[in-house]
Symmetry: C2
């Protein structure tokens, strides 16, 4: 595993929440578990962009942070279920609120996100002189 070299900042509540929710998929994982998708394979189908490996890693962290519990059924093929702890359940209203705000502002969010992303891409790497060259070739 990876050993942290910089200690996290843990001054205020905001810092603390950040530690347990920070992770590309964690909020969504919690949300989908809340929705009743308890098994890793179900979660993976709900979040196709996450790989199984990373899903496992983030679930493990959520477990360590006592947001979920893991139950392994000794059957074949294997069966595992994750459930929210009471602690995990208590954060669901926040996730709900965040999701609602996001839904309400969907259009604007999508617009500014895409605009920002574009502003990163459209820095031309090839100088304009190249375009000029093409034009000259055509006009000959």
């Amino acid at each position: 595993m990876y050993e942290k070299k910089n200690l996290p900042t843990l001054n205020c509540g905001l810092d603390l929440v950040g530690e347990v929710l920070y992770g590309k998929w964690k909020i969504r994982i919690l949300w989908f578990i809340h929705q009743g998708n308890l098994r890793p394979s179900e979660l993976q189908r709900k979040i196709p962009d996450v790989t199984r490996r990373v899903l496992n890693v983030q679930l493990k962290e959520l477990e360590d942070h006592e947001m979920v519990t893991k139950k392994i059924y000794p059957v074949v093929p294997p069966k595992v279920e994750y459930r929210l702890t009471d602690f995990g359940k208590s954060i669901i209203p926040l996730i709900q609120a965040i999701g609602s705000w996001g839904d309400e502002n969907q259009e604007r969010l999508r617009q500014v996100i895409l605009k920002h992303a574009a502003s990163l891409s459209d820095k031309p790497k090839t100088p304009f002189i190249e375009d000029a060259t093409v034009i000259i070739a055509r006009s000959s």
Copy 2:
């Protein structure tokens, strides 16, 4: 700058919010601006762990995402102020709620975070055989 190679997932509101709030310091930056710390130097003093470079970068992203506006005063020494947009203001209640939940659960959060962090460090890298060697040496 850095050009993204993997496109973000933008399916639901949760994804969208993630895009604009994801960043180690962004939520805190918004919060402190909301508290009236408008100038970069003030923000830096409030968040000593962020470097000026990164503070600038994250402020720029918040600006691109229309969460804040930047106002440059043509004076010397330079003076700059960031303010929340109406859009930015509308997300403050969420941040407030997250912070409150974090404060309320401060103790438990601190505990599980530290426990998890410790579990990463205390994986012994030197195999147990070394301990055994020591014991044998002692008993001779």
